[in-house]
Amino acid sequence: MALIGPNGAGKTTLLRIIAQLTRPDEGRATLFPDEPAMRRRSHARRALGVLMEGSYLYEGMTVEENLRFYGSMFSLADLERRIDEGLARVDLAGVRHRPVATLSKGMRRRLALLRAVLHRPRLLLLDEPFDGLDRRSVDMVQQWLAELAAQRCTLIMISHDLSWVAPLCRRVCLLERGQLVQSWKEDEIPARLWTEGYGPWLGRGRR
């Protein structure tokens, strides 16, 4: 699912509420409501991967040390293999011993994404996952996310560029001022949305 909308529409806030990083003013968000085991905080956390604006990485540690740290916090058994495979997947194997502080913005974004999926979550929340990536990296990450989606990982993404997220999504939701204005299935996305952006639909939520 892709969340789109103008600045201040509430996209990131919605993602933070789903991730239980922010308490909603009213109502509540429950992850996996049909699974009683998920009421336990630790179980829900294992099923959730989050990539927000902050990378959650430590600049004073190397790429590998950061992944090892988060892997140990998730008590991952086959950590070595996951790190090796993941670094190869995001093309960072050559910099595994470099401190994060020396990485470019795009490299950090890819590493942050790898950190978010290292424990193989069932629900992946991504806030501008392509931010700072060059075209080649966007293609690489798109392909990786498509593979994750094919492995029954649910993706909820925010992006300012619909063309980057739409190929990965079965549903596109337009938000404005905290309200859901419009929602389209993958085969219902109107051509105007591609050509004119979401502008023509805005303002409806206020009436």
Binding site: L21, Y56, E59, G60, M61
Partner: protein, 226 residues
């Protein structure tokens, strides 16, 4: 319990790895403690008779102040990339995260003490301590309680608008029973003429340490949620 210990160790190891690599914070804390110790030496040089009354305070003051200087920076490594959120999103018990942060800080303060306490004996030349074991136990319990409290209040202060300015205002009043305990016990350990009651003050110190270790461990989840 096993996962609690594993997560605590991971956090403490991560903090120590970063601090030993950067070195700047550890060096600042050690140099600051040494400078205070030297300044105190010059201040009390004129009146050696006062040493017996003041010795315990002179031993602890550099430790307390250098902890105050460094603890905020130790907690601040979680801020540039919103790492508190990253820790909150792991399945680890938030209490284990606090315990890891506290143990990492404790190790650094212990290193500061390993330089500052011998310097106290060199500069002030007090008589040979009456009880080395009591002095060591007091150093351990006193440092544990103070660092635990300082770690908790430091995170609390950093979550507020006032930031580090709030830390001493929160920390000093609550640490008064601990300060009384460590000063009395240190006096008893250093000087044979000081009246006993070690058991009472050790019990106070242990109770204080247990309370201010359990309280942050149990409530850290709510603090991170703010």
């Amino acid at each position: 319990m096993k996962s609690f210990v594993r997560a605590s160790w991971a956090v403490a190891e991560k903090d120590l790895r970063i601090q030993f690599r950067l070195k700047s914070l550890l060096l600042s804390m050690v140099v600051f403690a040494l400078l205070i110790q030297v300044l105190l030496h010059f201040s009390f040089q004129a009146n050696p008779a006062a040493l017996e009354q003041m010795a315990a305070g002179l031993l602890w003051l550099p430790v307390f102040l250098s902890t105050l200087l460094g603890i905020g920076r130790l907690m601040a490594i979680e801020e540039p990339e919103e790492n508190w959120e990253g820790l909150w999103l792991t399945p680890a018990d938030p209490g284990a995260v606090f315990m890891g942060k506290m143990l990492g800080s404790l190790a650094l303060v212990a290193l500061v003490e390993s330089v500052s306490v011998p310097l106290f004996f060199i500069l002030f030349n007090p008589p040979v301590p009456q009880s080395f074991p009591l002095l060591l136990v007091t150093l351990l319990l006193g440092t544990w309680g103070y660092v635990s409290l300082a770690s908790f209040f430091s995170v609390m202060a950093r979550m507020s608008r006032l930031g580090d300015l709030l830390l001493p205002i929160l920390l000093f009043p609550v640490s008064i029973p601990l300060l009384l305990g460590v000063v009395r016990l240190t006096q008893m350990a250093l000087f044979p003429t000081m009246p006993g009651q070690e058991g009472l003050w050790l019990a106070v110190l242990i109770a204080y340490d247990v309370l201010f270790t359990l309280l942050p461990v149990l409530t850290f989840e709510y603090l991170l949620e703010v």
